[in-house]
């Protein structure tokens, strides 16, 4: 029976609770919803879904699954149970194996099957037998459990080996068993038999066995000129030559060799899995004090808030330029780094976070990043700000550390399109979860917290989710660096805030942050060396006004503002005056305004505006002062909006042409002076009213939600027939049939639709299937063709 059908039946027989557990473990099975159990089973056998499911398996689960795949054969009806596996898996009891098989079955990675015929007759066995679901072999790859392929497969892979196989066998008397082998298939069987015998390995010289030991974990190796070194029957001292000539290594091409499965098994003492890794590696032992952790985390939280808010202000004053290739260039980064008083890695993080939170957005017209939600951001409370940073960081597919110099990156520009990794969000979550797990497991003393290093996370993940760990490896270090900079980790240990985020406990987190973040201050110390010291986190409004009046200096929790004539003039430009500045400072100064500062303000303001600049449409100049005075009083000249700025000069709001027209009407003869041609560059106005809103962070909902699961169950249960040949399951079933035909080298009857919509039934031999296409051999025309899977509407074994 087809594995999909078998699985569908098995799933329909499960209780609702079992199904709920399945959906929770493999949410992609019902997103989007499925119409019936057949479709559900088909989806469970789909490649992508299987890949995801495999990533969630722990090392012992994967080991058992791989062993089952290697010991069973669907076409021959050879299923497996704990009993068979006990021979293949070391260090395992029947009980453990049964338990792990049940878990795999629960995950719909294997399904219940009939016992093999030999067992069937010996009735009374109540052991459960399983088969892996269709396509699992394909998804697991060519080398499950790190073992190579059989000789028979290798003869079909390597033409060279097929030609040589008979010679190899005939040169080894023990393998040929006094018969002269002619055909490569027969040779492959002979080798298969011989290599599994202990004598085969024992006959190898010690050096050759040393070479073989390098293949214990992975069956493929690089050997230069591999094919030329296969010389059956010739004496040789070279261990590799010996192995190749005796068929214990098989050349794949001229550069690579493979260790055939029987040899690999023999090396492992006949076991597919030499030892089942039941226990996770121990949690790390290094600790740090909770005081240090708290200090580091609070420091990081304070700093990241300062950076992001600083960037919001900076970007709202001047949009951030990008390179033509995308991303923020070195020069712009340096400018921002100076403005933020940070180091460049911090700026990179601030940029990415600001973009992820939605404070800055890319303006496509100008290719600049603009602060579209800066005001909204600055109005948020600090706990709320951090919460949003944390949530945005967890979910963003962008990886800031790729652009950080410290991580050996720095090749990428921050905010460049290449800084994206689809896995990033999943990796972060998983890394933090693992860090939390490790901290929870380790028994740290009072006042101590466990230090979780990248290496610890890596080791644990390689046990807990070996297939995922491979994908995580590249991002892990960067994730930990970022997590430390944001405050998820402090002094190497996961922080209270960090674990609250992992739990999705946003409410608790809010309360925690309210408690731990210091209150903002609204008092400053003004000093005679013309500085203002803000002893802590200043209220944003106050900080902005102070930053207008004076230049901020120093990095850290406190900011020093230095007053100078230039900084005060900047404030005067912005509309302040001496009285407003003095009043503002006096209101916030802890101990009054020192005399030198008061003097500086008065002095600067007093001499501000000695040169004034204004805008005019045109000027009217004449040496005849009386004429100009007359013009000023002329009623019909009022429309020009005249102002006298000197006895001989008037300015007007009107353009020179308009002014000339009016003056001509008054009987004057003005000449237009074309030597002044002001080109006024208009500045773009700041962000409009339709600025995007900052999204509010929510703990990520469990996908799928409880409601979705219940709705799905209702649909499934309503279905009368277990296996309706529904639309969704059909292609999967067809593919399964095709694959079976490929394996068994049998012909199929295909109902194919051509481009015009005409359907024809043909009998063909499928050769291979991949990426939505089937390669078929047409025995009638003796040619090969490639068909699209979606054009095949029906498949039947011929």
């Amino acid at each position: 029976m087809s594995s999909i059908r078998a699985l569908a039946e098995e799933l329909s027989a499960r209780g609702n609770d079992a199904l709920r557990r399945l959906f929770a473990a493999r949410p992609d099975l019902i997103t989007p919803g499925v119409p019936d159990f057949a479709a559900l089973a088909a989806r469970a056998c789909a490649r992508v879904s299987l890949q995801r499911a495999l990533e969630s398996l722990s090392k012992p689960q994967l080991q058992v699954l791989e062993a089952l795949v290697l010991t069973t054969d669907e076409d021959e009806g050879r299923s497996g149970s704990a009993v068979e596996l006990r021979h293949a898996v070391g260090n395992a009891t029947l009980g453990t194996l049964d338990a792990i098989l049940a878990e795999l079955s629960q995950l719909a990675l294997i399904y219940r099957a009939d016992p093999p015929d030999s067992i069937h007759s010996a009735s009374g066995s109540r052991r459960r037998y399983y088969q892996p679901v269709a396509r699992l072999r394909e998804v697991l790859g060519s080398y499950p459990a790190g073992l190579g392929r059989c000789y028979t497969e290798l003869t079909s892979v390597s033409q060279f080996f097929a030609e040589k196989a008979a010679d190899i066998v005939n040169a080894i008397p023990a393998a040929a068993q006094q018969q002269h082998v002619e055909h490569h298939i027969a040779a492959a069987y002979a080798l298969e038999r011989w290599a599994a015998l202990p004598e085969a390995l024992e006959s190898a010289p010690p050096k050759a066995r040393e070479v073989l030991s390098k293949f214990t974990n992975w069956p493929v190796g690089a050997v230069p000129h591999a094919e030329a070194r296969v010389r059956p029957g010739r004496k040789t001292d070279n261990p590799v030559d010996w192995l190749l000539s005796h068929g214990l290594l098989v050349p794949l091409d001229d550069e690579h060799v493979e260790l055939p499965r029987p040899v690999g098994l023999a090396l492992r003492g006949g076991r597919i899995v030499p030892g089942l890794a039941l226990d996770p590696p121990p949690p790390p032992a290094a600790t740090t004090s909770t005081a240090l952790r708290r200090n580091a985390a609070l420091g990081a939280i304070g700093e990241v808030l300062r950076l992001v808010s600083g960037l919001a202000v900076e970007a709202s004053e001047r949009p951030i330029e990008t390179l033509r290739a995308g991303g923020v260039g070195t020069r712009e980064l340096r400018r921002l780094t100076a403005a933020l008083r940070a180091d460049s890695d911090q700026t990179v993080l601030a940029l990415e976070l600001a973009a992820a939170v939605g404070i800055i957005t890319l303006d496509v017209d100008t290719s600049t990043w603009r602060a579209t939600a800066a005001e909204e951001w600055l109005a948020l409370s600090r706990p709320e700000q951090w919460l949003r940073i944390a949530a945005a960081w967890l979910d963003t597919p962008r990886v800031a550390s790729l652009a950080m110099a410290a991580e050996g990156g720095g090749q990428l520009a921050p905010l460049a399109g290449e800084g994206q990794r689809p896995d990033a969000a999943a990796v972060r979550r998983r890394v933090l979860e693992v860090a939390a797990e490790l901290s929870g497991e380790a028994n740290s003393a009072e006042g101590r917290a466990v230090v979780v290093r990248a290496e610890d996370v890596r080791t644990r993940l390689e046990w807990a989710q070996p297939r995922l760990a491979r994908r995580l490896r590249g991002l892990l270090d960067g994730v930990l660096v970022e997590a430390t900079m944001i405050g998820f980790l402090g002094s190497g240990a996961i922080t209270r805030a960090g674990s609250a985020v992992v739990r999705g406990d946003y409410e608790g987190l809010r309360a925690l942050l309210e408690e731990i973040l210091p209150q903002s201050v609204d008092r400053i110390h003004l000093q005679a060396d013309l500085t203002a010291v803000a002893p802590g986190y200043l209220e944003p409004g106050l900080a902005r006004r102070l930053a207008l009046l004076a230049d901020p200096e120093g990095r850290g929790p406190a900011t020093i503002y230095r007053f100078s004539a230039a900084s005060l003039r900047r404030a005067l430009d912005a509309g302040e005056d001496a009285a407003s500045i003095s009043a503002f400072l006096a209101q916030h100064a802890e101990a009054g305004v020192p005399q030198p500062l008061a003097y500086l303000i008065e002095d600067t303001a007093g001499r501000y505006g000695r040169i004034r600049i204004g805008r005019a449409g045109s000027f009217i100049a004449s040496d005849d002062e009386a004429a100009l005075a007359g013009l000023l009083r002329e009623p019909s000249a009022q429309q020009l909006g005249l102002t006298q700025i000197a006895p001989t000069v008037l300015v007007s709001n009107a353009t020179p042409q308009e002014a000339a027209t009016v003056l001509r009407e008054l009987g004057l003869a003005p000449a237009i002076d074309s030597s002044f041609d002001p080109a006024v560059r208009l500045q773009r106005s700041r962000g409009g009213t339709d600025a995007p809103r900052l999204p509010t962070p929510e703990p990520r909902p469990a996908v799928p939600s409880v409601d979705d699961v219940e709705a799905q169950l209702a649909i499934l249960r309503n279905q009368s027939a277990v296996v309706a040949n529904g639309d969704e399951a059909a292609p999967m079933l067809g593919i399964e049939t095709l694959q079976k035909a490929i394996r068994l080298k049998r012909a199929v009857r295909l109902n194919i639709v051509d481009a015009l919509g005409n359907s024809t039934v043909e009998e063909l031999r499928p050769v291979s299937i991949s990426a939505g296409r089937v390669r078929v051999f047409d025995p009638e025309r003796e040619t090969e063709r490639v068909l699209s899977v979606h054009r095949i509407i029906d498949v039947e074994l011929a």
Binding site: G490, H525, L526, Q527, D529, L530, P535, G556, P557, P596
Partner: protein, 547 residues
Amino acid sequence: MSDGPLIVQSDKTILLEVDHEKATEARHAIAAFAELERAPEHVHTYRVTPLGLWNARAAGIDAEKVLDTLLRYSRFPVPHSLLIDVEETMSRYGRLRLEKDPQHGLVMRTDDYPVLEEVMRAKKIAPLLGPRIDGETVVVHSSERGQLKQALLKIGWPADDRAGYVDGTPHPIALEETGWSLRPYQRLAAENFWAGGSGVVVLPCGAGKTLVGAAAMAQSSTTTLILVTNTVSARQWKQELLKRTSLTEDEIGEYSGSVKEVRPVTIATYQVLTVKRGGLYPHLELVDQNDWGLIVYDEVHLLPAPIFRMTADLQARRRLGLTATLVREDGREGEVFSLIGPKRYDAPWKDIEAQGYIAPADCVEVRVDLPREERMAYAMADDADKYRLCASSETKTDVVERLVARHANDQLLVIGQYIDQLDEIGERVNAPVIKGSTSVKERQRLFDAFRAGELNRLVVSKVANFSIDLPEAAVAIQVSGSFGSRQEEAQRLGRLLRPKADGRAARFYALVARDTLDQEFAAKRQRFLAEQGYAYRIVDAADLAKD
């Protein structure tokens, strides 16, 4: 978080809120490893430097204690990177030790094999080392002890010098504590120094550094070489030693420009030692060819470069540095550390305050407006002439006149750079002018008269101003120019201006022409003086009468 008085910044500065109730306590705690950088009225700034941390290590303070201090007194979280940095930096001191080996002589030893491997590969260090004895020990050429220490400090692995010292020629010296006794902190400083071998004692002006030196000499009881900044200081030392110790006139020699005596205790000036003739320093042999048991360096922060070179070759002799500050204008604090030794004693701040060292003079900057013609002349002048034009403005002379009239009964100095301007002022206020061309005898006469109060106003040029025997005054008016470096300026101000008899603070006027280069320079001075804790005001010349 605690409500501490410190804010630790990630740029490695520490801000101290002076008015906080725990400020004094915290100040004491951080003084061991951080250097005071700025001390304006409300918030003082300290800086954590590798040298400061190594000094602390040499004084037996470990990283844990430093971290604990920071965490305990800090109001906000301490940047984690700084904590790691402190730990890392402090752990570097003493991983390499210089020791005396009975068989191989001077050796460098470590327990940390890779560190030795690293430094042996450094280009500048390899030639200073001899053959390697084993994994952890390497022979050091004894002549390169100082060079090696300098080079090691430069690459960040300061060595702990435990190789000991030569004894020197014995010569009995004893303190004669009759009618006086060493103050406890002086005794402690001398003891700390002796226990540490070599090093620097930091004491504020007037805290009796000479006595610490004398105590160290008594402890050593060997021939001693004392290096001082100038002749006046040499004579002061001599007087003090005669008064406080068993040494007699015959036992103490002066080695200066005018006298060249070599006696069991010899006091030499930096200047004479650094005289260069034909590319050689003829007087340096004084140091080399005598078997001194102790060398005392007065005012280490002013030690000139050739003396450093000389000191590098003297590593086998005990060295005592005395100073009021470890901060050097030229940034050579590292050489003081590696060649003379780590800080062995630092006086608590409270003593400095008690000495009246800080918060002395009242500084007033008087802004004068240049008249129209002068402004035009200034605007059109070449850059080279601009400063002279604005600094020697006519209007300043008027203001000086008014100020002199106002302080008619005070001892008053007018200081300036441009002779024409000074001559005119001298004439207007009826005061003698001392300039470069004034004979030494005449200068001495005028100074003596001023000191005695027979003369209550003097006009001195910048040249004269640099002479060390400038008398003290209650009021100083600076019309142009500035005192050398900022550091020197603050120190001179402190020395020059003593509080008046009735307790009123001395006053320092600086006349500054508005909107000119003069004002720019003044702004820098204002910042520095305010940072040093001087009271500072700015007044318009027109408002002077109201002041």
